[in-house]
């Protein structure tokens, strides 16, 4: 019986060419009883190898090839470093191996050069217990000894073997023999046999496997080229000599080692000595340090009790504490039974830290089903009030750890929370989960193309073939794609490229870090999984990805960055500072009419989760009227309901166009809230529980079996069980089929209700802030870009349409971030406030919705096109506030310079551009130019009143004229010749030049929408405004034009494309059929401005144009205007 004990997977990055599952599959095919995986300096692939082996009922041995610096040598050259293959004998061995790898990795940076990442002989000796060592293949210690000094190779090899036996003990060293039909290797084998016999070491046959099947040798060669930065044509002897490093059967290996049968027999013997598998990891979640006299159980109970009393006090119609008590008790009992108190307390501890630090934090995901989580303040959704199903979160039967996701404001605040975890549990006690970056898409095409020596032009074309659109046309075969790109798949090189490109798909490329998953194991995580430094300073990652950690039972906490959380937190601060009001997100007024009015009108740009094009087209139909409607709204535009055809039935029933029916009376209590249509995962679990007598855990198991499609057999078995259960309850025939179909189609994409509720809370909060504190919300969202669906320009135009005054970037007022000013004075400073008016001097009627406060109580949109009913009015408080754009929006201005400006200005005002340049030496010439070009320097003179030497008629060109002077020192000799005043001979910028400069310099404009400048021309083309088409009847043939702000081609839309065209009055929604997309692909994908013709669809106040013709527009200025030949450039 032969066991392969030296195999590398593709997790020996750029060395192995098969994923662990392929190796196991090949092993199963060859009827191998066990196999060992020894990846280079890591156990990256071990979990997948272990799980795959477990599924296929073969034994998975774990090990690694460790780079070791040979002893008694000061030579640091790579030739002095050998690769020692070690196999794990027992758990202690695994822990030693894991610590050894951690030791090696943690002392060098992430991208260490080959040879830097090594362990010393002493370190290896200190961690040798529980490990079995092989003498290695071509890069092993014996091969290294022979290569170094040929003349003394026998002695050197002998010394190497003695070194290994000293380290590991004689019984734990095997003389490894490999036979790949190579002369040199065979010569080495002779020496190994001789030394083994002399030292009485057992011989061990291995095949040094690098790939599962011979055909994968090509990938191996490609990886060799990528690793060595060479082409296949020039790689020469770096490439493999032949394809023999594949997994060979016992019969083949016996034939190869016919002269050494003991080498084959020893593989079984050694395999039987290797008792350790990853199932025996010994992971325990850390204990939470509790005060003396407390146990974790009692401490958790007390904290839950305290929280529950606070939460369930009858506020907001929540059930009273007594009503919630049984559920909390039930949950606590299960938590205690599963010994998860530490986990809940650790999460609670993180939440407490964030609260103390003023960092907004909210749990989401299935944790929101738990009343304990709600009581501990981890989540914000009341599961009892919302009748959420606890089993979706935790169940005894499932045997899996719970998963709590915590949303934090993205950026520095999230980093603080992460660093707190590191500080609390130690560098070796907590780490981020990894994210295995695999070969995919363009990068794979480029790397493979380079190896095949394609020119840059061909490479670009090949990379361009990889579609970035979510939707994949089923007719879009590879042949067709290649043909369209002018590449012939019959050409052998192109065909080879295509084969290799497909072969490398999904193979690991390198290790990244997961966006938020953290594994915690106080002080001993390095004995569970090797750790390594992340590219980001201060971060440590484990060698396994999120799924692997979950599969091996490592509990993780997801600390996820959510841009909207940062917006909410920033908004609250801005409201406190500028409005003088305190907003508590936990106690926002329920059922704010302004919020529901905005939602019903789909006026949701910038709002969390409901701002997408699909959401906006659904909102007027669903017409949310209470919080639960928002939960439904968040969940309904998801692949699950869309693929499962649940959206239209639900909307029809909601609009009263279809009766509410239930497939079976048993379903009524489950589906009543969603009008008989299943929308949430919890409903499916409940259906299984009610109609098929499943327990909570079984129901969750059912969801997972269908959801991940891991095993056909498992799915079939559970379906049989489901049908039997349904039958027992008298559900047969068509009804039974319907229920089974609903569960099977929904499990994969369905959205948990608890998750939707958590998101809906944030969505409501964002909508509330936008509707009631527009200035603060807009400033916050602009300060946290990039995020969401829309560009800053669209967000600003939307805010302006709602009446918000937006002030330009001004070096005398703007901070680094966007701020709020009182309209009559900057932050209460009356004198400086007048500078805001100076900002409009340059023909800057720069705010579309700007109206004198004296006009009345409410601000109204200035545009005659905008009816009052369309956009809500601002409150009295808010009408006196304006948004001041921050210096952050000046493209090319470094944060350091921006902050330096603000710092110096705080000392005293800038007297002139000269003064600015002198006092802020961080400002480079190009930065000054950029500030001048966007008009940020216009107000310097105005700020100093009559003291200025320069004409008060400062404009952008004046500033640019002066900037060039201050940045070029003339020297003393020419001082007398210099001009005495700063009068600029340059002409002021025209309107269109200003718009152009705004877009170039900031990516946005606060003046008129660029399309507005061309309205005359568009009128001549009979293009309607976005606002006008809303009044037209369904079916009217219309023509609209505008700037494309969003392009989408979702995977669930069967090839349809959705465009959003913005003009000065709003956004028009365009639907493009797949046929039309093919016809106008270039125009639709590449042009910023489009003119679209088509039939208007106006159903339930959802207005869109079904395009029938597309024309790109180049918006050149109209004849007769003083704009000169400027073509707008937009980002």
């Amino acid at each position: 019986m032969y066991v392969e004990l030296h195999a590398r997977s593709a997790f020996s990055f750029l060395e192995g060419a098969s994923v662990p599952e392929e190796l196991i599959a090949a092993g199963v095919e060859l009827q191998m009883p066990a196999m060992a995986l020894l990846d280079r300096n890591g156990v990256y692939g071990a979990p997948r190898f272990h799980l795959s082996a477990k599924k296929n009922e073969i034994k998975a041995h774990i090990g690694a090839e460790i780079s070791v610096q040979r002893p008694k040598s000061k030579d640091q050259s790579p030739t002095n470093i050998c690769s020692v293959p070690v196999l794990v004998k027992n758990r202690q061995g695994y822990q030693n191996l894991s610590r050894l790898i951690t030791l090696m990795k943690m002392r060098v940076p992430k991208h260490a050069k080959p040879g830097e990442c090594v362990v010393t002989s002493e370190e290896l000796a200190a961690h040798a217990t529980g490990l079995i060592c092989l003498t290695g293949g071509f890069d092993g210690p014996i091969a290294g000894a022979i290569n170094r000094r040929v003349a003394e190779s026998a002695e050197e090899a002998q010394r190497s073997v003695e070194w290994l036996t000293d380290l590991f003990g004689k019984k734990n060293v095997y003389a490894e023999l490999q036979r790949h039909f190579d002369r040199e290797e065979e010569a080495r084998n002779h020496l190994v046999i001789e030394i083994a016999r002399r030292n009485r070491l057992p011989l061990l046959a291995t095949n040094g496997v690098c790939h599962a099947i011979p055909a994968r040798r090509e990938v191996s060669d490609v990886f060799t080229c990528i690793r060595n930065h060479v082409r296949l044509e020039t790689a020469g002897r770096l490439l493999a000599q032949n394809s023999e490093t594949y997994l060979k059967s016992g019969a083949m290996m016996r034939k190869l080692f016919a002269d050494l049968p003991e080498a084959i027999a020893n593989t079984s013997e050694l395999s039987s000595r290797l008792k350790f598998t990853l199932g025996d990891l010994g992971y325990e979640f850390p204990k939470y340090p509790v005060p003396p006299g407390e146990t974790m159980t009692s401490f958790l109970r007390k904290r839950t009790e305290e929280g529950a009393r606070l939460r369930y006090t009858g506020v907001n119609d929540a059930p009273a504490y007594e009503k919630a008590r049984p559920q909390i008790e039930r949950e606590l009992k299960l938590i205690e039974k599963l010994k998860l108190e530490g986990y809940f307390l650790i999460v609670w501890d993180i939440v407490q830290f964030c609260r103390k630090e003023g960092i907004l934090i909210q749990g989401r995901g299935s944790a929101a089903n738990s009343a304990v989580c709600y009581s501990l303040g981890i989540t914000a959704v009341d599961p009892i009030g919302m009748e959420l199903l606890f089993e979706r979160f935790l169940s005894e039967e499932r045997g899996e750890w719970p998963d709590i996701d915590l949303d934090l404001p993205s950026g520095d605040r999230r980093e603080r929370a992460i660093q707190y975890v590191y500080t609390r549990y130690g560098k070796l006690g907590a780490a981020m989960t990894a994210n295995v970056i695999t070969y995919r898409g363009r990068s794979a095409a480029r790397e493979v193309g380079k190896v095949l020596d394609f020119g840059e032009e061909t490479l670009s074309r090949l990379a361009g073939l990889v579609h970035t659109w979510e939707w994949k046309d089923p007719n879009d075969s590879s042949e067709r794609q290649f043909r369209n790109a002018g590449l012939d798949l019959h050409n052998p090189r192109i065909r080879k490229f295509f084969e290799l490109y497909q072969m490398v798909q999904d193979l690991p490329r390198h290790l990244g870090q997961h966006s938020g998953g953290m594994v915690i194991c106080k002080g001993q995580l390095d004995s569970i999984v090797p750790l390594e430094p992340a590219a980001m300073p201060g971060r440590v990652v484990v060698q396994w990805d999120k799924e692997d950690c979950a599969d091996l039972g490592l509990i993780k906490v997801d600390l996820l960055g959510l841009g909207m959380m940062a917006v909410l937190e920033d908004s609250i601060k801005l409201i406190r500072d500028s409005y003088g009001e305190e907003v508590d997100l936990a106690h926002l007024p329920q059922n704010d009419p302004a919020v529901y009015e905005a939602l019903q009108k789909a006026d949701t740009i910038g709002m969390f989760q409901v701002e997408s094009r699909a959401q906006m087209s659904c909102l007027p139909r669903l017409r949310p009227m209470n919080f639960y409607d928002i939960v439904v709204q968040v969940a309904i535009i998801r692949p699950g309901p869309i693929v499962g055809n649940m959206v239209h039935p639900y909307l029809k029933r909601r609009q009263g166009r279809e009766p509410v029916t239930y497939a079976h009376p048993l379903l009524e209590p489950v589906l009543r809230r969603t009008l008989g249509v299943p929308l949430f995962q919890e409903q499916l679990l409940r259906i299984a529980m009610l109609c098929a007598n499943f327990s909570g855990g079984e129901a969750e198991e059912l969801r997972r079996a269908f959801g991940f499609k891991r095993s056909e057999a498992r799915m079939k078995a559970i379906e049989v069980k489901l049908r039997q259960g349904l039958l027992k309850n008298g559900i047969t025939g068509k009804t039974q089929d319907e229920i089974v179909l609903a569960i099977s189609s929904f499990a994969l994409y369905g959205f948990p209700e608890s998750h939707a509720a958590s998101f809906a809370l944030i969505a409501y909060a964002s909508a509330y802030l936008k509707c009631n504190y527009l200035a603060a919300f807009t400033a916050a969202i602009l300060n946290n870009q990039p995020m969401g669906f829309y560009q800053p320009f669209t967000l600003i135009k939307d805010a302006q349409r709602h009446g918000l005054k937006v002030l330009p970037i001004d070096i005398t007022c703007s901070d680094w971030l966007c701020t709020i000013e009182e309209e009559t004075g900057r932050r209460g400073d009356g004198e400086k406030g007048r500078r805001g008016e100076a900002g409009t001097r340059e023909g800057e009627a720069e705010t579309l919705g700007r109206v004198d406060a004296a006009q009345g109580e409410h601000r109204v949109p200035a545009s005659p096109h905008l009816p009052l009913s369309l956009f809500p009015r601002l409150s009295v408080t808010e009408s006196s506030l304006a948004l001041r754009l921050g210096l952050k929006y000046v493209k090319g201005l470094s944060k350091q310079s921006g902050l330096a400006i603000v710092r110096e200005r705080a000392v005293r005002d800038f007297l002139s551009i000269d003064d600015l340049s002198n006092r802020v030496p961080e400002l480079r010439k190009d930065e000054l130019r950029k500030l001048a070009a966007v008009g940020a320097l216009n107000f310097i003179q105005a700020s100093t009143g009559s003291k200025t030497k320069v004409s008060p008629k400062t404009n952008r060109r004046d500033a640019l004229w002066q900037v060039e002077r201050v940045t070029r020192a003339p020297g003393k000799l020419y001082e007398a010749l210099l001009e005495k005043d700063g009068n600029s001979p340059l002409q002021q910028m025209t309107l269109t030049e200003r718009v152009d400069a705004d877009f170039r310099g900031t990516g946005l404009t606060i003046g008129k929408h660029p399309v507005a400048y061309h309205r005359g021309e568009l009128n001549r083309l009979k293009a309607l405004k976005a606002i006008d088409i809303r009044k037209l009847r369904d079916g009217t043939f219309v023509r609209v034009a505008g700037w494309v702000i969003v392009r989408q081609r979702p995977g669930t839309a069967k090839g349809f494309m959705f465009l959003s065209l913005e003009d000065e009055t709003g956004v028009s929604n365009i639907i493009v059929t797949p046929q039309l997309f093919d016809q106008y692909r270039l125009e639709l994908v590449g042009h910023p401005f489009l003119l679209i013709e088509g039939a208007l669809q106006n159903q339930d106040n959802v207005v869109s144009v079904k395009a029938s013709h597309v024309k790109p527009l180049s918006l050149e200025p109209q004849k007769g205007t003083k704009t000169r030949n400027i073509l707008f450039k937009f980002p």
Binding site: V150, H180, E218, N242, P492, W961, L978, E979
Partner: protein, 457 residues
């Protein structure tokens, strides 16, 4: 006054500068297709400047036989050369720029078209200035010219001033007149097509003699000679003679060319011949007093050419091993004499290598080409071999073997290979006088054919 001629579509074989010389010797070639002429004092020959411009435009349209360019040119006359250049390159036909009225003509030109090289401004500086001008809203020469000089100087420096003067058409400079570059090319058109080598050799000799005389006159040599022969069948037969070091001996060139022509004869009779070369500095070399004399490089080159003629070009040179696992893969490199220091370095390297690789190994005698063999095998293991050719034969029973040693490669190309090698001991003869020899045999895995590659000493 200055006249600028701009001919963007001038035929490749015609020279605008030569054309300009027919009007005045004071010619500056601005760039390919643009020249400027100082026509001061040409009035007696051509009349007024305007008449001269008409003459230039008219003659340019004429056929090449009459000294024309067979194309339409733009002509501009101005008081300074740069204004003339700008006008001619931007405006078609004949443009007359009056002195002091430059901006009237040039004013609408975009500043992007300022020919900054004319006033010695580097591209990087010019780009920066143009970027500044763009920010200032300066788009044309007319926008730029009236800016205050002190202001421009303070902001854009002296380069800015020069560009401003250029835009205003106020630059003052002399023409940069260059001597025509020597041409190292000769050609001849034959009245009757030649198909024999001997008469051709006389033509070659004459052309090469002229070429080497020209090289001699400029104290130059060449290491590459191009020969192009127009053939009777309207095709061109082109050859390139590469020399190991620069030479200018027409006799050597002739011999080499004749040998090359014998090896690569033209497919039809020759109607015209042109010979050209790339001039380089000649090699200056002094041999050491005690260094043994190597063959003279020119003689060596001739010998190699004669050998190449005998054995074929691909079969002469020094073999160089290729970096591949493919057994016996090598390429032929051009044979060249190494100088002393190279030789020493190589010796040193070889010595070091031999010290490292001090292995006891057998000498191997390779059969070229390998002998095709008939091999009897038992379960893939060779047992009996017989192979023969005119020179030798190999046969016998395999009494001992090692292998297979497998190499495969070039899987991404059409010439992929895969083979198994064996080292075998063959026993031949009868029992009383049995002989044993050690051979290397191999089997092409793609074709399943066996070969004997050679024997070990």
């Amino acid at each position: 006054m200055f006249v600028c001629i701009h001919a963007p579509k001038i035929p490749a074989d015609l020279s605008l500068r030569e054309f300009a010389y027919s009007f005045s010797p004071m010619v500056e070639e601005v760039r390919c297709g643009t020249v400027v002429i100082d026509v001061e004092g040409c009035e007696l020959l051509f009349g007024s400047s305007y008449q001269l411009a008409n003459e230039v435009a008219g003659r340019a349209k004429g056929s090449r036989i009459h000294g024309g360019l067979e194309t339409t040119v733009s002509v501009a006359i101005a008081a300074n050369p740069d204004a003339a250049i700008h006008a001619a390159t931007r405006l078609k036909g004949i443009t007359f720029v009056s002195s002091g009225e430059e901006l009237t003509c040039l004013g609408e030109f975009p500043v992007d078209h300022l020919d900054y090289a004319l006033v010695n401004v580097e591209k990087k500086v010019a780009d920066e200035i143009l970027e500044t001008l763009k920010l200032w809203g300066i788009r044309t020469f007319a926008d730029f010219a009236p800016l205050p000089v002190t202001g421009v100087s303070e902001r854009l420096g002296q380069e800015g001033i020069r560009l401003q003067q250029l835009a205003a058409g106020k630059t003052e400079r002399q023409l940069r007149i260059k001597q025509p570059a020597p041409v190292f090319a000769n050609s001849i058109e034959l009245e009757h097509a030649l198909s024999e080598l001997e008469p051709l050799s006389f033509i070659f000799a004459r052309l090469l003699h002229q070429l080497c005389a020209a090289l001699n006159a400029y104290a130059l040599a060449t290491n590459e000679v191009w020969v192009a022969m127009q053939l009777d069948d309207q095709t061109t037969h082109e050859r390139r003679l590469s020399l190991p070091y620069p030479m200018r001996d027409h006799k050597v060139f002739l011999k080499l060319l004749l040998l090359d022509t014998e090896m690569h004869p033209p497919q039809a009779a020759v109607r015209a011949i042109s010979i050209s070369c790339e001039p380089v500095k000649p090699r200056v070399l002094q041999n050491g007093l005690f260094v043994p004399l190597a063959p003279a490089p020119d003689k060596l080159e001739l010998t190699l050419a004669r050998l190449a003629k005998l054995v074929g070009e691909q079969n002469i040179g020094s073999p160089a091993l290729l970096d591949t696992h493919r057994p016996d893969a090598f390429s032929m490199k051009r044979f060249a004499l190494t100088n002393k220091s190279d030789f020493r370095k190589r010796r040193k390297k070889e010595n070091r290598q031999s010290a490292i690789g001090n292995r006891q190994c057998l000498g191997f005698r390779m059969f070229r080409p390998p002998l095709r063999a008939i091999v009897q095998a038992d379960q893939g293991w060779p047992t009996q071999i017989s192979a023969w050719s005119k020179q030798r034969s190999v046969y016998g029973k395999v009494v001992n073997l090692a292998g297979p040693w497998r190499t495969t490669g070039n899987w991404w190309r059409d010439d992929r290979w895969a083979r198994d090698e064996w080292d075998v001991t063959l026993e031949s003869g009868n029992k009383t006088s049995a002989q044993q020899s050690l051979y290397r045999i191999y089997r092409e895995l793609n074709t399943k054919v066996w070969f004997v590659e050679g024997n070990y000493d």
